[in-house]
């Protein structure tokens, strides 16, 4: 299941939609809006998420398929928010479901790493002076993605 939505979501509800009796292990990654920026001393009051929805859905579908096939998952749920979000709000949720934990955990990390560098979302910080500041792609995120190249065909 893949969802790009404006509203927030409930973790228990999303887990129920992804769960099945055949799974013994679920790995979740949840990204939220944090108050302090590591790159500067600026405080923000929220973020704005822009998205090219048709492309993002196609890209997420591809990532999800790779995760399902490569780690023999029974389910992989991806939810990403768009629009204006306040501090503390949920941005992204990945849930991977498998019989055993190692597969679920590794696949979940693959999905979030891929999403960070390969899916058409753009983040802006909403500063206290009401200005928007574009978030730059992290060099480390690209570096980190390289490690999956040997694992994923």
């Amino acid at each position: 299941m893949i969802k790009i939505i404006n509203e927030s979501f409930d973790l228990e509800t999303e887990f129920n939609s992804a769960s099945s009796y055949i799974n013994g292990a679920y790995s979740f990654f949840l990204g939220t809006v944090r108050s302090d920026l590591s790159s500067s001393n600026k405080k923000i009051k929220g973020i704005y998420l822009e998205c090219y929805e048709e492309l993002a859905l196609a890209q997420l579908k591809k990532i999800r398929s790779k995760a399902l096939n490569n780690w023999k998952l029974n389910e992989c749920l991806i939810i990403h928010r768009v629009g204006k979000l306040n501090i503390g709000e949920k941005i992204v949720l990945v849930i991977t479901a498998s019989s055993h934990r190692a597969n679920a955990i590794e696949a979940c990390e693959f999905v979030i790493d891929s999403l960070k560098i390969d899916v058409a979302f753009w983040k802006f910080h909403l500063l206290n002076n009401d200005q928007k500041e574009m978030v730059l792609q992290k060099y480390l995120d690209n570096e980190k993605m390289l490690k999956w190249k040997d694992i994923i065909s």
């Binding site: 990204g31 998420l49 822009e50 998205c51 090219y52 048709e54 492309l55 993002a56 196609a58 990403h80 941005i91 992204v92 979030i112 999403l115 960070k116 560098i117 390969d118 899916v119 058409a120 979302f121 753009w122 983040k123 574009m134 978030v135 730059l136 792609q137």
Partner: protein, 84 residues
Amino acid sequence: MNITLKYFSWIRVKLKKSHDLIELNQSISFKELKNNLISKDPLYNEIFEDKSVKYFLNLKEIDNENQILNNGDILAFLPPVTGG
């Protein structure tokens, strides 16, 4: 024929618009469109000079500048993504 251009992130901010509808008499290559846009507005030069920008034609990344654009095509201008 019509081609839709879609702009995202700083490109949208710089151009102060999210999309354009381009009318043409015949199909052209991506390279030709690029030169047309630059000659009309120097802001496009800044965009095309940024090697981190990617171009997606109908949801597929353009890997050859000679690719032909046809009626109804959607060409998107994508800065490096920062979701998640």
